[in-house]
Amino acid sequence: MSRFLAWASAAGQRVNPIVVKEFRQAVRSRFVVVVFLLFLLVDLLMLGGFLLLSPDLATDARSGQGVFAALFAVLLFTCMGFVPLYAGIRLSLERNDTNIDLFFITTITPGAIVRGKYFTALALTLLIFSACMPLLVFTYLLRGIDLPTIFFLLAMAFLVCAAGNAIGLFVGSLPGGWFLRGLVAALALLFLLYGTIGTFAFVMEEVLMFGRFRLTWDWDFWAVLGTVVLLALLGIGLLQVLSAAMLSPKPANRMLVPRIYTTVCWAAAGLVIAAWCWHEGTAGPFIPWLIFGTILFSGFAVMALGERDAWTQRVRKRIPRNALLRLPAFLFYTGSAGGLAWSTLMFAATLGACYARAEGGSRILPGNLTSECGNAAVCFGYVLCYCLTAACFRSFFLKKLPTLYLPIIAMLLIVAATLVPYLVAFLLMDQASWRSDSYWYLLGSPAILTIGRDDAAAAAGPFVLVWLTLSAAGSLPWWVDQWRRFVPLNRD
């Protein structure tokens, strides 16, 4: 016993300092205490109300299921609404440039800070789950749901909340002014809301109502679940790596680790999926990989625009003198042109792998995969067009604008290219023409792929190609400037 206590004491000394600090602050925080008590009160009122007021409690064999769904919804909305928000806001306040002491004075690494904050958010989530657990388990006695299902759903919900916490911390770690951070925070809130509603709808429909995703020992079930869990964990890891990068000092080589992490994870996921395809004899699993890759690398491309276009002494000191090594360094080191090139190459590799698989003769889905590859290429092509056009603006008109604002310009271009031609068409064309077969007003955005017309989709490819060629030519000075600046520090 004494040995255990000594071990526990020694372990306690080595706990991440951020965790200790965060727990101490959470315990004192009125906000945390009020939310926690309110959550318990709502849960108890719901369960009590149901037990007291339900007329067919004794006869309904599924009443436990209804109560479980209600309590589960409260749990999910509380954890997804409160904990990511709390963790994100706290981090956001502490990463302020004027609030330097937590992050920049000590020798704690940004990675340790993010891990500490994330662990605290998970512990808060776990606290709420454990407070709710007895009530959820009680629903088993009301019939309609078994204990393995209850614990399985709680585990799934915890995974969703863990992802939500990672998103909250990522948004909290973003640099920039309040407007930019507020904008991203609003998008993240929408995403969290969508995730919460989606998870709840999935549980209600697929597990509780129709039982299509019930806990079984079936290989298909565990293969799908395992893939989802693996992807979620990789995604959480990526968000943590990105958060740590955002917290690193401005002069640091922030994006090196996230790019290496993404490249390694992406290659590993590709290999697992290739093995799965080989085992199943279908190219089907490549489709989600391709879709996810298109979204991920599009995001990376837009984000890369906001990175620095001139390097600090600290980074330049680590630029290889060998010209052959300098090229990969250019792709992986922090830098807007290099980041955009890396995103494009990663997408091209994904596309190439999928296309090779499709052409290689899959027994079930070669045709569909080829078409998915085409759509993905067009979608990423559009994103690249927006990014390169923003880079052109930067080269010719906005030389003094901080690079941080370039992603906003790219996003504004997306909105403008989607809405403006559409509005012009709506205003100029009469009602008869509006209903005609024209689709030119949709050519400015990937929305053209959603109208389900082959001729429109076929026109998008050449359109993107022309735009891409023009914007690439226009942004050439932007690329050349950055490549020229990417030279090792001359210590002489």
Binding site: Q13, K21, R28, I105, T107, K250, Q313, K400
Partner: protein
């Protein structure tokens, strides 16, 4: 530990916040960093504390570059910013304990260190107070205690006396003397030059990002001007004395200061003794004739123009 700042530059666009700043100081020395608002003091200190990267140049702590190896350099620096950041829901003791943990102190040693810095900064009675409930002076003490937690050999203190009452200022001065006696190299910026002059071994005067004077206090005060300030008082009134002095070719400037006349005299000892002999020969009954030493305030006012960028 020796701190050497070499050709440090920090530009923000066209604004040269710090432009080719060089100076050095060592363990056991308190070095004053003086300049008007916007002169580049805080920027230089932030670079030295690894919070910002210079556009050019470097700072070395016994050979460790703050640019190349900021993580390692941080272990040797205790930085006290001009304001203590506000943290909710944390007490003074917990705050210091957090920093002790952050610097890797463990177990009994950590408790000992936190207690000793609390004692040193006179914070024992405030340990359980929430940080946000503290007054400005108390926060400054917490900030100093925080900078000392990992016992760094170099202290960078940005306006530590700002907002302190006279008693707290005197206490701070004594604390700094004790720290210097313990061998710490201290760089301190302040606008209260008389107080700085009392405790500093050397000083740097900076304006518009450029160093105007740097060195030991004696070097700065003695090497400042070719003119000497002489105070003369004669029995029988100051007006005739002033008229006579203004006619002397070695006297650059003369003004009345009550019963005395203060002059700026060009030349060395010869000119000074010659002037005294001349006045006596002219029949002035000299009661007081003394050279007034320049202090840091005089030097500051002489060399700076009060310009900001």
């Amino acid at each position: 530990m020796n701190v050497r700042i070499v050709n440090l530059k920090r530009y923000f666009g066209k604004t040269k916040a710090v432009d080719d700043v060089s100076f050095e100081f060592s363990g056991g020395q308190i070095f004053g960093f003086v300049g008007p608002n916007g002169a580049g003091k805080t920027t230089t200190m932030r670079v030295l504390a690894t919070l910002d990267e210079p556009t050019g140049g470097d700072a070395w702590l016994d050979g460790i570059s703050v640019v190349d190896d900021p993580e390692r350099a941080r272990r040797f620096i205790g930085f006290m910013p001009d304001t203590l950041p506000v943290h909710r829901d944390i007490t003074v003791h917990e705050y210091l304990d957090f920093f002790a943990r952050a610097y890797g102190l463990e177990g009994a040693k950590r408790r000992e260190v936190v207690e000793s810095v609390e004692q040193f900064a006179n914070l024992q009675a405030l340990g359980e107070k929430l940080l946000r409930a503290l007054s400005k002076g108390m926060k400054q003490r917490v900030s100093l205690a925080r900078a000392l937690v990992h016992d760094p050999p170099v202290l960078v203190l940005d306006e530590p006396a700002a907002g302190l009452d006279p008693r707290a200022r005197i206490e701070l001065r004594e604390l700094l003397r004790v720290l210097a006696d313990r061998g710490k190299a201290i760089l301190i910026s302040s606008h209260i030059l008389t107080e700085l002059a009392e405790i500093c071994h050397g000083a740097v005067i900076i304006e518009r990002g450029k160093v105007l004077r740097a060195g030991s206090l004696a070097e700065i005060l003695s090497g400042e001007s070719p003119l000497r300030t002489i105070v003369v008082r004669a029995a029988g009134g100051a007006e005739p004395l002033l008229r006579e002095l203004l006619q002397q070719p070695s006297v650059r400037e003369a003004r009345l200061a009550g019963e005395e006349v203060e002059i700026q005299l060009e030349g060395g000892d010869e000119a000074t003794s010659g002037l005294l002999a001349h006045l006596i020969a002219k029949g002035f009954r000299i009661v007081d004739f003394r050279q007034r030493q320049m202090d840091l305030e005089d030097v500051f006012m002489t060399v700076t123009k009060g310009e900001v960028q």
